[in-house]
């Protein structure tokens, strides 16, 4: 008797897992694509892609894009676009250099002043967009020119540097390692393990909450499988990084921001309202949502994160140049769309945008290692952008 029961149970379980995966394939589709792309380049570069040094570089190179993509996602979900972020990031990098190098400000007040300047810039653009209903495309196109010009003016067309050592650590530093370790940074590895455990626990609680209220929850087998795979991946990456210099500071910043924005979009009323605003502004307004103010806030937020990205980029180069940030806006916007955001607003996920940013980043990195010229890199990236959105839209219409 026992044996038959045992034989039957896994089959039903398996079946429900399979149907669940089928229903939710779109949610995990992007993640699978990223994995496929990584495996492809890992193979093509004969293992260079996943080497600890390269992996660390990959994170550093893409951190500022990811940071801006988080805020851009909110802007796009709200039904707008921001073309000025590259210029703003460049301008703020210049501002930081002027404050710290020319005026010898301490790096803490200088950083805060730069973030405040970002908020001001975002607010200024948001004011025209939200309260005067000027299309965001036009306002931020103007902003793109204005802040590029101001960056040039601020730096007198030259590079300014170097930054104080403490400020450089923002990008080039790694988290301290009090636990020691000659070849392996134990603190970083343990931190990775802690994140994996926290991740599993949160998934577990979310499911328990759903079950408690009687909502359809993912099958338990799927949950376990998902947690095992994700934990393994997180720990493996941390292990690789630990065998180099540990986790970069900027990765920690990025990760914390990712968690915050994921939480805001999925769990808070303000996040929900932004989705409603992008989905149907009139309905949102008639439901008592202050749509104008909400649009305004998304642009302030965008300004702050563009400023942060500008600081990260400047710290990484250890100097501010007038050319910094040129074309960033396109990578950031592409990341959001590759990650499944809708150009008409109302649809998009923070994790999608992050994955989209890494899809672009891995391709940049992998193609560079392979020695593919900048000409073909751009062609391929363009094709991938359109193809990703095409597949997404095609699946939706089907």
């Amino acid at each position: 008797m026992n044996s038959t029961v045992e034989a039957v149970a896994p089959i039903t379980e398996k079946k429900s897992v399979a149907t669940f995966v089928k229903k939710n394939i779109r949610e995990y589709g992007m993640l699978i694509s990223l994995a496929v792309i990584m495996v492809f380049f890992q193979y093509m570069t004969e293992g260079t892609l996943m080497q600890p040094l390269n992996l660390t570089n990959l994170v550093l190179q893409n951190s500022y894009i990811v940071i801006m993509a988080l805020a851009m996602l909110l802007v796009i979900v709200a039904g707008h676009i921001d073309l000025s972020v590259g210029s703003v990031a460049g301008f703020i990098g210049g501002l930081a250099a002027v404050l710290m190098v020319e005026y010898q400000w301490h790096y803490v007040p200088a950083t805060l002043a730069c973030l405040a300047a970002g908020a001001l810039i975002g607010g200024l653009q948001g004011y025209f967009i939200a309260f005067h209903r000027i299309p965001s495309f036009i306002v931020t196109l103007g902003g793109m020119l204005v802040f590029r010009g101001l960056a040039l003016w601020l730096l007198h067309g030259q590079s300014v540097g170097p930054f104080p050592r403490e400020f450089q650590l923002l990008s080039s530093g790694f988290i301290p390692d009090p636990l020691g370790g000659e070849s392996l940074r134990m603190t970083s590895l343990l931190l990775g393990c802690a994140v994996a455990v926290a991740f599993s626990y949160m998934n577990w609680r979310e499911r328990a909450n759903k079950v408690f209220y009687g909502a359809e929850a993912e099958p338990i087998g799927f949950l376990i499988g998902k947690n095992v795979v994700f934990s393994a991946v997180i720990i493996y990456f941390c292990y690789l990084m630990s065998s180099y210099k540990g986790l970069p500071n900027v990765l920690v910043i990025m990760f914390v921001l990712m968690m915050i924005f994921d939480f805001i979009t999925n769990r808070t009323t303000i996040g929900r309202r932004i989705y409603a605003l992008g989905g149907n502004e009139k309905a949102a307004r008639l439901s008592g949502i202050k749509t104008d103010r909400l649009s305004f806030y998304t642009f302030i937020n965008m300004g702050v994160l563009a400023a942060l990205a500008g600081l990260v980029f400047a710290a990484r180069l250890n100097s501010a140049t007038p050319k910094a940030g040129v074309g960033f806006e396109l990578d950031v916007i592409a990341a959001c769309f590759i990650g499944g955001a809708s150009a008409t607003g109302g649809v998009g996920k923070v994790m999608g945008a992050v994955i989209g940013a890494f899809v672009m980043g891995v391709m940049n990195n992998g193609m560079s290692i392979l020695g593919i010229g900048i000409d073909w890199q751009q062609v391929i990236k363009g094709i991938v952008l359109v193809a990703a959105v095409f597949v997404d839209v095609y699946n939706k219409n089907k």
Partner: protein, 509 residues
């Protein structure tokens, strides 16, 4: 002479559902054939099969037209054979002129160069045929919905039409425009045109149809000839819903208390034309447990009145007082209006009521996110159970509350909008055309809900263009015309004639 159109054994499957099941439709030349059925009964699908939207091969069955079997690959094919469909949602380009719209896709051109003279001449002819006296250069956006509908018909006539299909042509028209349109259709009939008309409005069918086919759940349930004897509306309703409908309106025992909500000397200026007084000093009140009706033609300012009260979402330079239980209250923003227990259920649920590409549960909680969250963090489980509760209570037919609202039928969408506002916990509910475009069964459910809410002591203000509905549901009526209330009457003493007389009389002054 045989039938002009015969559809035999049409079966259309979608993944997981059979939309049409062995449907037969026979249309005689020169008749007006009405097709009715509840939403989701398969009327539109059948018309899409007929007009080639679903090409031959994607369905089973045969279409015979003028004695030949036809296999359409596209709408173009069916149009070439003279089968023209006018969809419910008008497909006009607002910023193009009448003539440009009429000949859109069918331009009067020689080698790609548009022949302005022919276009103009033919447009004038066509406009005359549909009884319109507008300049062909007029932009569509400057015309009312009634005239736009006529432009659609003129556009259909510009092609060689043998069979004209109209999908709920009067759905968005007021009484006068509807009558004019029906007269026009009768005139076309006298000239020998064959027409198929999909409609929910039984009085219209009774007035102009020669025969009626009733669809239910994707199958033909009844075909009736109404030339010999007029059709009984109840017979049609019974066939549509598949059950006896003793009453079209639920029994409602009014239990009316003290005055709760009062509006005094409400004046609103037009949103675009700042100097035009649109709502001209209106006074009204509603009492506890009362269902108050506002009758009037479309364009009389009913929606604008409601929206200007609800957080000034319409109009400029608004003046007047809103009193709640004798105290003046500030309702100058939607937030404040909701806080004072006012809810406005819009007449345009897709445009103003719902976030279509969002889950049912997200739509239900939208006007009261505070009720499912703590410190700005939403409790998913609580939100789910709220949605589930309303799904059950109001009978929203859906597999689960995670469905996107865009996948629901009109009646169920309306129930989602109502759920949203009920969850906001209002005392005063303004319902603007609460049953527009939804089928008989769902209508009855919504009437029951309205009666139930009144019984619970809420004040209901019901705006409607369907006079039978107002007469059947309300306790008291105001008649609105051109921005003023021109009459007030107890519903028990009211009739359609009385209401119309009030409007006409006011118009003469």
């Amino acid at each position: 002479m045989g039938p002009i159109l015969e559809m035999k054994g049409i079966t259309k499957r979608f993944p997981g559902v059979i939309a049409l099941k062995d449907v037969n439709l026979v249309v005689q030349p020169g008749e007006i054939h009405a097709i009715c059925g509840e939403n989701g009964a398969g009327k539109s699908t059948l018309m899409k099969v007929l007009s080639g939207v679903y090409p031959h091969g994607t369905y089973e069955g045969e279409i015979h037209f003028e004695g030949h079997e036809l296999k359409f690959d596209s709408i173009r094919d069916s149009e070439e054979h003279g089968i023209i469909i006018i969809h419910q949602e008008l497909a006009l380009v607002p910023l193009l002129s009448i003539s440009e719209n009429i000949f859109l896709g069918n331009e009067q051109a020689k080698r790609g160069v548009i022949d302005a003279e022919t276009t103009h001449r033919r447009t004038v002819e066509l406009l005359k045929k549909v009884g319109l006296n507008e300049s062909p250069e007029e932009l569509i956006t400057n015309l009312g919905v009634g005239k736009q509908q006529l432009i659609e018909i003129a556009k259909a006539l510009s092609k060689k039409v043998k069979l004209l299909i109209l999908d709920e042509p009067t759905a968005s028209l007021n009484e006068n425009d509807s009558q004019a349109l029906l007269d026009l259709l009768l005139e076309f009939k006298s000239q020998g045109m064959t027409m198929i008309m999909i409609s929910h409005k039984l009085n219209e069918i009774a007035r102009i149809a020669d025969s009626v086919t009733v669809l239910r759940d994707g199958a033909t349930v009844k075909t009736m000839d109404c030339r010999d004897q007029p059709v009984d509306e109840d017979v049609i309703i019974r066939a549509m819903v598949g059950r006896e409908m003793a009453d079209r309106y639920p029994h409602h025992e009014p239990d009316i208390g003290e005055t709760v909500f009062e509006v005094r000397d409400w004046k609103v200026y037009h949103e675009q034309h700042e100097d035009r007084l649109f709502i001209k000093g209106i006074n009204f009140h509603v009492r506890r447990g009362e269902i108050l009706g506002i009758a009037g033609l479309m364009g009389s300012g009913r929606t604008e009145l409601a929206m200007s009260i609800f957080g000034r979402t319409y109009g400029r330079h608004i003046s007047g007082k809103v009193l709640l239980r004798g105290q003046e209250v500030d309702v100058s923003t939607v937030q404040k209006a909701i806080k004072h227990g006012i809810a406005y259920v819009t007449e345009d649920r897709k445009g103003y009521g719902l976030v279509l590409e969002n889950e049912i549960k997200h739509n239900i909680s939208l006007a009261n996110l505070g009720g499912v969250s703590k410190g700005g963090v939403i409790n998913d489980g609580r939100e789910f159970s709220v949605a589930k509760e309303y799904q059950k209570k109001i009978n929203i037919r859906c597999p689960d509350v995670f469905q996107y609202v865009s996948n629901l039928s009109g009646g169920n969408q309306q129930k989602v909008v109502l759920s949203k506002w009920l969850f906001a916990g209002p005392d005063i509910l303004i319902l603007d055309e609460p049953t527009r475009g939804i089928d008989v069964g769902a209508k009855y459910e919504i009437y029951c809900l309205i009666a139930q809410l009144a019984k619970e002591g809420k004040c209901i203000i019901m705006i409607s263009s369907e006079m039978p509905e107002l007469l059947g549901m309300t306790d008291r009526l105001y008649v609105m015309n051109e921005g003023s209330f021109v009459a007030e009457m107890a519903t028990a003493e009211a009739s359609q004639e009385k209401i119309m007389r009030a409007i006409v009389k006011a118009g003469k002054n």
